[in-house]
């Protein structure tokens, strides 16, 4: 642990200036300083100003600047405290109480939070076009939230890469991919509407199923980050 030389410490400098001001005031009280009234007032004002600025600077330095220890005793105590803090940080969220609270809150939020999604899928049941639309809107909502989380800094690093990869897997199934001549759900719906044959129905149903699987992977990737 490095020790800062006494006179290089901002706090100590501020304290010394403050003490100098107080010593000046004490000397004046003892009659050892200035005699003339004007000089006294001037000196009072200057000393008070110095003392105020020094005290304020000591506060700012303590609050905003690093405060390395000034003595070996303080260095030892700081090292012990940092070791304790490191151990506490390593515990992190793995503390049992924290896990229980987190799991309980998460379960409550999940249980209460998917009514609208269930409602949408229920409203589309038995109608292939509507189901394809609900899956597409669900993907649109998830990818919008993922982008917002990336922009807010909540989604970074390997988690962001995992979400991008999941998005790359699901997007061609939903909106199609001209490079591979793959049709998206909208194109398959149009084909189904134009020719309501067993083949177009089976194609659309298979596309919806595949998209739902990949969409759930994307949702899990966003949740797992």
């Amino acid at each position: 642990m490095d020790i800062t030389p006494l006179l290089k410490s901002q706090v100590i400098r501020a304290v010394l200036v403050a003490l100098a001001g107080l010593v000046g005031l004490i000397l004046r009280k003892l009659g050892l300083g200035f005699d003339e009234a004007f000089a006294n007032q001037l000196v009072d004002a200057v000393l008070l100003l110095i003392t105020t600025v020094a005290a304020a600077w000591a506060g700012v330095a303590r609050a905003r600047l690093p405060t390395p220890p000034l003595t070996q005793v303080a260095a030892d105590k700081t090292a012990i405290r940092e070791a304790k803090e490191d151990r506490a940080r390593q515990g992190g969220y793995a503390r049992p109480a924290m896990l229980v609270i987190t799991a309980a809150i998460g379960a409550a939020l999940v249980l209460a939070g998917c009514v609208g999604t269930r409602d949408a899928y229920k409203a589309s049941a038995g109608n292939l076009e509507a189901t394809a639309y609900v899956v597409t809107e669900h993907y649109a909502a998830v990818v919008k939230e993922a982008a917002a989380m990336k922009n807010s800094g909540a989604l970074t690093g390997s988690a962001l890469e995992a979400v991008r990869k999941a998005d790359d897997a699901v997007r061609p199934l939903i909106i199609g991919d001209p490079a591979t001549h793959r049709d998206g759900l909208a194109a398959l719906v149009r084909a189904y509407q134009a020719v309501k044959s067993a083949k177009t129905e089976a194609d659309l149903q298979a596309a919806i199923n595949a998209a739902v699987v990949k969409l759930s992977n994307l949702i899990n990737a966003v949740k797992r980050r």
Partner: protein, 81 residues
């Protein structure tokens, strides 16, 4: 259960833990709050979709595909800053 208040409580607890120097626990609560908020936004959007379907509104495929393209491009762009 009022989810907005639950989210607010989560953020408050995370801030409290952060101020106490419990950064690990604070980060966990913040991540949970972020996920929950994202889930709530998705659910609110899906509730609107359900209402549209029930009302028999026409489906605008061009609109939803345009939104997907824009947000997917945003997701794959570098983070701001």
């Amino acid at each position: 259960m009022n989810l907005s208040i639950a989210l607010l409580a989560l953020r408050g607890a995370a801030l409290g833990l952060q101020l106490q120097g419990q950064t690990g626990a604070s980060r966990t609560l913040n991540l949970l709050a972020d996920s929950a908020a994202a889930g709530l936004n998705v659910d609110a959007h899906m509730a609107e979709v359900a209402a549209k379907l029930k009302a028999g509104e026409p489906i605008d495929w061009d609109d939803v595909e345009a939104r997907i393209r824009a947000d997917s491009t945003d997701l794959h762009s570098p983070p701001p800053g």
